[in-house]
Symmetry: C2
Subunit: 152 residues, 2 copies
DNA sequence: GTATCTGCAAATGCTTTGCACACCC
DNA sequence: GGGTGTGCAAAGCATTTGCAGATAC
C-alpha cells in the first residue's frame, strides 16, 4: 500500500468545498464513508463499508452507501476496483495513482506503479490518435503465499 | 483488429474434441456461437449474439447463450471484455493476445499488443514473488473521431 | 421553508438456475 | 434409454430508484 498523500482532515476539507460547489448539504454519512476508507488499508465493498458504519449508526442503509459512493467517485475522492465477479470495491483516492496485482486464489491485492508502462501507455494512445483519459491494469497472479501453500 | 490465427473449421474441430473430452454431446448452438463470434469483427454482448442467432433459429433463448458462453470461456475458445457497466462482451480467442483501447464517448474498441509492457508485467509480478497468470489492460480514451467531432 | 438526505421497499438489469421436454450417442 | 441440451419462467445478486419523512441551511 502506498503512502497516503493527505491527512484525513484535509480530504474532509476538500469534500466540504466540493459539496458547496455542487449546491449540496453537509451530511455525516459522506464524511463517515471517507473516514472508513481512509482508515482502512484495504479495498472495501459497499457492504463492508455499510457494516463498519452500522457499528456507529445502526440504521444506515445500503442504498445511501451506494448513493454516496457514486458521488464520491464522480468527485474523485475514491476509486473503484473490480477484483472478481462479486462487484466493485472502493479505496480512497488520496494516494498516488497505482495499478493492482490480484491473487486469484486468496484475493489478496497489492499495489504498484511503473512509470515505464505509464509512459508507454500514453505513446500507444497517441499513436492511435487517441487522447488517454485513464487506464486500468490488473495483473492476475498466484501470490507467494499461495504458491508456498500449494507446494506443501 | 488482429489477424485471426486459425480457420473457423479448425476451431470447430477443436471444439468437438473439447466436447468429447468433457463427456458432452454435440449441439448446433455451440458451433453457431463460435461462428458468429468468428465472423463478427467486433466484441459482442450476449444479447447481440442471441439476436444474430435468432435470425436462423427464432426460438433460441438467452439463457442458453449464457450457458454456452460460460462453457466456451472456460475452455478458452472465447475471451471477455468489460467496456463499461453494461456487462460483458465476448470475442473469439483465436487471435494473438492483445489489450484494448476503449473510447469513452462512442464506445469504439481498438486492440493492440505491446511487447515491452508485456515483459514489464512479468518482471513486476516476479519481483513481488508472484506467478503471473494473466493480465488485463484497458486504456480509456477519447478517440480521434470523437476529438474531431468535439472540435466542431 | 425549501431543497437535499436518508431509510425502506420496490424496481432494475445482467446473469444463473430449476424444470420439463427435446435431442444426441 | 440414459444423459445432455434447450427454452421458458423464476430466482439471484449487485445496484438503482421512488417515495415519504428527517435534516441541513
Amino acid at each position: 500500500m502506498q503512502n497516503r498523500l493527505e491527512t484525513l482532515e484535509s480530504i474532509l476539507e476538500r469534500l466540504r468545498v466540493s459539496i458547496k460547489k455542487n449546491g449540496l448539504k453537509n451530511s455525516k454519512q459522506r464524511e463517515e464513508i471517507i473516514s472508513v476508507l481512509y482508515k482502512n488499508r484495504t479495498h472495501l465493498s459497499p457492504e463492508e463499508i455499510a457494516n463498519e458504519i452500522k457499528v456507529k449508526d445502526k440504521n444506515t442503509s445500503i442504498s445511501s452507501i451506494y448513493r454516496i459512493l457514486n458521488f464520491l467517485e464522480k468527485e474523485k475522492f475514491i476509486t473503484t476496483l473490480e477484483t472478481d465477479k462479486s462487484g466493485k470495491r472502493y479505496e480512497i483516492a488520496a494516494k498516488e495513482h497505482h495499478d493492482h496485482i490480484i491473487c486469484l486464489e486468496c484475493g489478496d491485492i497489492q499495489e504498484f506503479v511503473d512509470t515505464a508502462i505509464e509512459e508507454q501507455q500514453i505513446k500507444i494512445a497517441t499513436n492511435s490518435g487517441c487522447k488517454l483519459i485513464s487506464h486500468d491494469m490488473r495483473l492476475f497472479v498466484v501470490c507467494a503465499k499461495c504458491q508456498e501453500r500449494n507446494r506443501v
